[in-house]
């Protein structure tokens, strides 16, 4: 699948670096400033104002869950782990914290731009999948309603296939989902009050 990169919204974006003062912060700040971002270094904790940031870089070596004003893995922006120690426990924690990309420390002359693009793309892909899954779950939950609606419609002498087709046509005519149409059919009553589509 070819997914065009969204790269034109980096200018003026706000990046927070959750890391104690360190040459890595300086090197990363230089790179991000050159790219056109506004950068702020913060330690030891992010407060509610962090919710307005576009990217958060966080220290994977000394980090812990209480540093973030959101639940682990639920950041409202892309998160980038700054990894010094490649110990499995730290990698595991940074994944649970919700890292969308990582940079190895010490940060040097380059790498930030590619990391921003990868983190943004991973964050967007994850958000799109979460939305899709939530929608599918909701529809799955409505399966019982659909069965009841089809049964109601079929009770008037149609076959199940014909009843299902009519429900689908109602949904199309009303410009709503099949599940929502089914809910209307069920709510409208057991028999003759079923609205017919025009």
């Amino acid at each position: 699948m070819k997914r065009p990169l969204r790269i034109h919204n980096l200018g003026g974006a706000k990046a927070l670096i959750l890391h104690r003062p360190h040459p890595t912060v300086q090197a990363l700040t230089r790179q991000l400033t050159a790219i056109g971002l506004n950068v702020e270094q913060i330690w030891p904790c992010l407060d509610a104002s962090a919710l307005g940031a576009d990217f958060v870089f966080f220290d994977a070596d000394m980090g812990h869950d209480d540093q973030f004003p959101w639940s682990p893995g639920a950041s409202p922006m892309p998160m980038i782990a700054l990894i010094g120690s490649e110990a499995p426990g730290r990698i595991e924690w940074s994944l649970e914290a919700g890292a969308h990309a990582q940079m190895l420390k010490p940060v040097g002359d380059n790498g930030a731009y590619a990391t921003l693009l990868v983190a943004r793309a991973a964050f967007d892909a994850q958000a799109a999948l979460s939305d899709e899954i939530a929608g599918l779950r909701r529809r799955l939950g409505e399966r019982q309603t659909v069965i009841r609606a089809v049964t109601l419609l079929a009770a008037r002498g149609e076959t199940e296939a014909e009843a299902y087709d009519r429900l689908r046509q109602m949904a199309m005519a009303w410009r709503i989902t099949l599940e929502e149409a089914a809910a209307r059919v069920v709510a409208a009553g057991k028999d003759t009050n079923v609205p017919r589509h025009g």
């Binding site: 980096l10 003026g12 230089r30 050159a34 790219i35 056109g36 040097g108 002359d109 380059n110 731009y113």
Partner: protein, 355 residues
């Protein structure tokens, strides 16, 4: 007593892009001669020269050789590929590269100063000029490395955003002259303009074949379907001869243009390299004890943006007419925006260059 400062020169004097290397080298030597002869100047540059002869694998070791002398600054590199080869050496040995040819952007190394144009200073204004003048149907060519790839990716993006179409996109390995397939595709697809990001002999062969096509069929005459380039300058006109007639280029300087610091030059390659050496001399005189580029630039920046290490440059659109470039449009001056993240300045097309 003048201070003697070793200055690295790293240009290929043979190989497929030697003409550009020679133009840059001429600009550097002319600046060095001027500074060394200036009684007011506090320093004397002593060139430390190495010639990779177009061999990509020689750039990193030769750059290291230069930096192992007392030289901390290197003027050099033509292709982006060679620039990317030397950056790790610069990082390791604490050197700075002064890079003075147009490139594809998306870089802002702490060890490089970029004194020629990046896409917001060449490709974007060139397309802004070409689309209203010729149309929105483009054919893209390029040499098979980062310059060609990234220029064409940007062009695709811009043309499609403008509601246009990319009719074809084809690449040749550096040095290859097998242009017949491109020419056939152009003949069949009949674009409004062609973006040529080929370099060296590939570009010369392509221009010759396209000129022949234009003689056969008026639809491919440069006045109807011109070739656009962000890398052809006067340095390569001798190799192109008549085949360059009608080519449209964007650049910060064309031969004879008034107002460029330091006088007039043979090409923008020469002009941009001259400015690089002169700016380095100015900075070294202001901060003789500076350790590294950031220190050298701090508080003393004039033409160099301390955040991006790119420079503010005039933007000119010019056409080859009877063997030389004639400027068609001045589009003001623009700061380099290597990541295309700054808001695009809408310069008035007829704005004159003020220096």
């Amino acid at each position: 007593m003048k201070r003697r400062v070793a200055l690295g020169l790293l240009y290929s004097r043979s190989g497929s892009y030697a003409l550009i290397g020679e133009a840059c080298r001429a600009g550097a030597l002319s600046a060095i001669a001027q500074i060394n002869a200036d009684p007011e100047s506090h320093l004397i540059f002593e060139p430390v020269e190495r010639d990779p002869a177009g061999n990509i694998d020689l750039y990193a070791p030769l750059c290291a050789e230069i930096l192992q002398t007392t030289a901390q600054h290197v003027i050099g590199c033509v292709t982006s590929w060679s620039r990317k080869e030397v950056i790790p050496v610069l990082e390791k040995l604490g050197g700075t590269l002064w890079y003075s040819v147009p490139y594809e952007g998306f870089e802002a190394s702490d060890h490089v100063v970029y004194t020629h144009a990046c896409p917001n200073q060449h490709l974007l204004p060139l397309l802004d000029w070409a689309i209203p003048a010729h149309g929105r149907r483009a054919y893209l060519t390029g040499s098979n490395y980062i310059w060609g790839w990234e220029m064409n990716r940007l062009a695709r993006d811009i043309v499609q955003t403008a509601g246009g179409q990319i009719l074809g996109e084809r690449y040749l390995p550096i040095g290859s002259t097998d242009v017949s397939r491109m020419i056939e595709e152009i003949r069949a697809s009949r674009p409004d303009f062609i973006l040529n990001s080929l370099i060296g002999p590939s570009s010369y062969e392509f221009m010759a074949a396209y000129r022949a096509l234009g003689v056969q069929d008026k639809a491919f005459h440069p006045s109807r379907c011109p070739v656009l380039s962000c890398n052809v300058t006067e340095a390569e006109l001798p190799a192109l001869g008549d085949c360059a007639e009608g080519l449209i280029a964007a650049g910060p300087y064309f031969r004879g243009q008034q107002g460029w610091p330091g006088g007039t030059f043979g090409s923008s390659h020469e002009a941009a390299t001259f400015v690089a050496v002169r700016e380095l001399a100015r900075l070294l005189a202001r901060r003789p004890q500076a350790k590294g580029l950031a220190d050298l630039l701090s508080g003393a920046c004039d033409i160099i943006d301390p955040d991006t290490h790119h420079t503010e440059l005039p933007v000119l659109i010019a056409r080859v007419e009877q063997g030389s470039f004639r400027v068609l449009q001045h589009r003001g001056t623009l700061a380099g925006d290597p990541y295309l993240t700054r808001p695009r300045a809408r310069t008035a097309p007829q704005l004159r260059v003020v220096q």
